[in-house]
Symmetry: C2
């Protein structure tokens, strides 16, 4: 535990979310207050900005814009998908990072992202330690996928879940307008963990008008059972059915259903072209073929991860606090840790308590939806999930309106002269 | 001008919007107050509900639920796409309507919809007049397409435009996250008029981060020019470009580009299968083929017409007032009219003044975006459009939150016993 004096760098990594910039706001406003932190830098495009010495001087940003970051979606500093190599195989990136850190006297490094980003934190931390260079490193969790190990939930999840649940409620009402049956198939992000798709259950269980069938990657997906499920659901509901499905559903053998259906369609064409359109389109086409009803495939696409106008106030605030805590903890000498959330129920009221965990534990580990939170038919969520997720989507927090549109932060992004 | 005493029927028709139920709320709350109106009925699924005598007794709905309708998306009574025949060819539906109106002593008929619905109003009105049956009929405009003739704008447009502009701002920020070029192609509703796609210009001109290229059906679309436009836009902006495109863009010969591209793709397959995925997917595939950059097609799908959580307060209020005025005007003896909006600028401040117009003028006429509001390059909107649209997206009005999700109206929908 060392109290260091020097500059800090904050970087954003991986896919953006509605609240990733709220964590940036928390890191920056806190870092600017700390006496031991002599300069506050934002790395352009995550670790690539460190390697390229592209640092924004955050002290030159206005307090107002740093505050507006709380409600600005996407990664304001730019993000990156760059996985550092194993230093035993190739340590050139690490050498370069050490060189840059020395040159700018960087003694604090904060990295905001998911599994891969925590792996990056861990590897850099271990390398610097072995090199005898003192630098306190704290990871700030972020992922709409909610799949980080060791934390009750992740910043970004609550807002994306609120978008999914609210939008499915609206689509449910829209789908019942005409007096004809329709099967709506909605594709939701999540390659390996079904947390975000599970939020469709909030629309039904809490909102009263949501998805009838919900399929997560945690349960092997069977095409015949799917058609039977849809037949049963439509029979019970005048031919209407809303299906929510994770992009990452797989069959028993572990093959992605999206790829299985694309291959089957290519075979039909005798040609090898796979169809455009994703999983929702393929499943809807299958329903049309097997059942013959009207279908409507819908993809929530990038909207589900950037809909800051529908952010959860709980999520925005927790993301901000995660950033603040990272800075405070590092200044108190903590390193090689990730900020984690613990849930406490005080007289039944949700409270999020922030803490720290060894970052190595989070690196490259995925947390999936517990099997016993999935209903026996494999196409729904139990009340345990509803109780888990509901506190995370509470309240509203969004950018002020200017001329009827959100006023997002506009950072000056003044580059630090290269040394 | 006759002051009639009897029951009223209100029906919803065509595609829903975020505020169509706000007009229903205006009609119902006003009709329940009127002494000359002896019963207030809601027709299930529009004119089909009249033909089938499926009427909901609105007097049995609670005041609170009727108020919540203001912020509940979709058509609460159910909608229909049913075009009445020309009575000279087949008057059986009209005979049946007259029979039902007589049986229930229906003396007021309010119909909420677009061009076709105004045609329905007009035909019924003319038939009843010729039959000597007194009934005051007023059309209430509604369409996210904003293409109704004779009114400055239509209820539903402002909210859909606000969704389009806000969401494109968020997607613009999301698209700039990685330090690589990407062309995002966003498909927006509008088969013949480009009003809704034009709202993408609000994101750029007002929000500061919107679409770079905007294509409306009003301008013939040329695939080669499109690729040139994208090349130029990406060259000026680090390979990044946001394209907003109406689903209804057509080539010089009037053929839908979506169909042209689907046919071209089918030819390539030597087989005749058209690709799944709509216009956005096809245009994105073309950009990828011709320019070789990363692409991302996005469809706003049904979300753009049902996103009540992002409704414009101006739109919600005007839709409500349109419903109110229809009832008041009918009770004062007006008939065969449609409610229209006139825009007044009082010291530069927008004011919407409601009035009436002969419904025949609105029937089957489409109002398109004026050619001189489209920029010379055919891929943008002038400041005249911005000044026109901006007042329509102001303010927020949405359902109260319960457990973090919208509390939409839940009508009891008690059917009137058939006579």
């Amino acid at each position: 535990m060392k109290n260091l004096v020097g500059a800090c760098v904050f970087g954003q990594s991986g896919g953006p979310s509605a609240v990733i910039n709220s964590s940036a706001s928390g890191v920056f406003t806190e870092a600017l207050k700390q006496k031991n932190i002599t300069a506050v830098y934002g790395a352009a495009h995550g670790i690539k900005g460190v390697l390229d010495e592209n640092f924004y001087d955050i002290s030159q940003e206005s307090t107002e814009e740093l505050w507006l970051l709380r409600n600005t979606p996407s990664s304001a500093l730019g993000s990156v998908r760059y996985k550092l190599k194993d230093p035993k195989v190739d340590d050139s990136d690490y050498k370069r990072i050490l060189e840059v850190f020395k040159k700018y006297n960087i003694r604090y490094f904060f990295y905001n992202g998911g599994n891969d980003s925590m792996d990056t934190c861990n590897k850099i931390s271990k390398y610097l330690l072995a090199s005898g260079y003192d630098c306190n490193i704290i990871g700030v969790p972020k992922t709409i996928d909610n799949d980080l190990y060791g934390t009750d939930h992740c910043p970004g999840y609550g807002s994306a879940a609120k978008y999914v649940a609210t939008t499915i409620m609206e689509l449910n009402l829209d789908a019942t307008v005409y007096n004809v049956g329709q099967v709506t198939v909605i594709e939701i992000m999540g390659r390996n963990a079904g947390w975000l798709t599970a939020a469709a259950a909030l629309a039904s269980a809490v909102g009263g008008c949501g998805a009838d069938l919900i399929y997560l990657p945690e349960v092997p997906f069977d095409l015949d059972k799917f058609i039977d499920d849809v037949k049963l659901a439509t029979a019970n509901n005048n031919g209407k059915c809303i299906v929510a499905v994770s992009e990452g559903i797989k069959d028993k053998s572990g093959a992605y259903i999206s790829e299985v259906l694309a291959a089957a369609s290519a075979n039909k064409d005798n040609f090898g072209h796979t169809q455009l359109g994703g999983l929702a389109a393929s499943l809807a086409a299958l329903v049309k073929e097997k059942i013959g009803c009207k279908v409507r495939p819908i993809e929530f696409s990038l909207m589900q991860r950037c809909a800051a106008h529908l952010a959860s106030a709980v999520d925005v605030e927790e993301a901000f606090q995660a950033g603040q805590l990272a800075v405070r903890a590092a200044c108190e000498g903590e390193t090689d840790k990730m900020v984690v959330f613990d849930r406490q129920l005080i007289s039944g009221v949700y409270k999020c308590v922030l803490g720290l965990m060894d970052v190595a534990l989070a690196a490259n580990t995925e947390k999936k939806v517990p099997k016993d939170w999935i209903t026996a038919n494999g196409a729904g969520l139990t009340k345990e999930y509803i109780e888990y997720a509901l506190p995370l989507i509470q309240g509203e927090s969004k950018a002020p309106l200017e001329n009827g549109l959100p006023r997002f932060a506009k950072l000056a992004k003044i580059l630090v002269p290269k040394k």
